[in-house]
């Protein structure tokens, strides 16, 4: 008998076998703070003793390394695969280690190739959580998460803007078609008041509202400095979200 094909998909399950929970941070709308929230969530979970990985899956526009102040001047070490370097206690992987700060313009099938390659060669080891920063839209990276990860608990980031609400509703509709509602969580980011529209939306769609992260006008000043990030107001709010996630 004869077979032929792409070997990378066959090994992804092995790479994720010792990862207990996968939390893709998603929002179909851009500019809602996914990357900052992903990074702070990973740091906050790690700060509570969890073993955490963070994967920047915004392939053509990676920026999580900017938040964490990761050193792109050397490639991650190799040990029967690529070993994600530790940043503030978090195993951090990004295509930026290889593309640097150069543009990385890719067509859809090329993005899919990057995702498959990274998932096939990254050695995460034992993790309690793998947090994934995803790009806006419902495109290749998001679909790859839904297709290649055997299990995941999406954390959807929203703001009360009518544009974000319209966009996030579409994403939640898609997610509820493929994941059980109790595994889908919604967080309100950049909250400025006591509005309950996001919590109401979560209730309406039978997904879980995990809380609010207040708008922090000083957060940009501490980007790139993990210790300073951990002293920010946003980190304090995200820590509450992390605590709730740990208890579930």
């Amino acid at each position: 008998m004869i077979a032929q094909g792409d070997p990378r998909l066959a090994v992804i399950g092995r790479r994720l076998a010792r990862v207990a929970r996968v939390v893709p941070v998603m929002s179909s709308k851009g500019g809602v703070g996914k990357t900052l929230l992903s990074c702070l969530l990973a740091l906050a979970l790690s700060g509570r003793g969890a073993r955490v990985g963070l994967l920047d899956l915004d392939v053509t526009n990676p920026t999580a390394h900017v938040v964490l102040g990761a050193d792109l001047s050397k490639f991650p070490e190799e040990d029967r695969g690529v070993v994600p370097p530790l940043m503030g206690g978090v195993k951090f992987m990004s295509v930026a280690y290889y593309s640097g700060e150069n543009p990385l313009p890719l067509r859809g099938w090329e993005i899919d190739n990057v995702v498959k390659e990274v998932l096939a060669v990254t050695i995460w080891g034992d993790l309690d959580f793998l947090v994934i920063d995803t790009p806006p839209g419902i495109g290749d990276e998001v679909l790859d998460v839904l297709s290649y990860f055997p299990k995941y608990e999406p954390l959807v980031v929203a703001t009360p803007s009518p544009l974000t609400m319209a966009s996030v509703k579409r994403l939640l509709k898609l997610l509820t078609e493929v994941v059980k509602g109790e595994s889908i969580r919604v967080v309100e980011n950049m909250a400025r008041n006591d509005s309950s529209v996001i919590a109401d939306l979560a209730k309406e769609l039978h997904v879980k509202f995990l809380g609010k992260v207040r708008f922090d006008e000083d957060i940009d000043k501490v980007v790139g400095d993990v210790d300073a990030l951990k002293r920010s107001r946003m980190y304090g709010d995200v820590s509450v979200i992390a605590e709730r996630l740990l208890k579930e």
Binding site: P7, A10, V95, Y98, L106
Partner: protein, 129 residues
Amino acid sequence: MVHEWALAEAIADYVFKVAPNAKRVRVVVRLGELQAADEEVLKFALEEIMKSEGVECDVALKREDCVLKCRKCGHEWLLKEVGLEEEVREAIHFVPEVVHSYLKCPKCGSRDFEVIKGRGVWVEEVSWE
């Protein structure tokens, strides 16, 4: 051990998936010039992994030249016509698509080009009885 081991594991897992009960297999792997996987290391790793699972494995590796084609002007060129620094080669070795971060079409300067041949690792044939 370099990351070729991870690629060999992927090939091995693919073989175990398509031929779960085979005790003797022949595997033909196509290696794209762009990824530039080390043939010796990959072959050694694959044979070791298969042996540890009790499978006799005959491995054949076929190197494929990398051909690029511009989506803007249609120009086609070979990777070997372009000089790349060692560090860039290494970055591309890990994630071949980052070639778009370092190369442009030699004719029109666009980064919107396609790798039409010779990208990475592909199992061309697994045969067993």
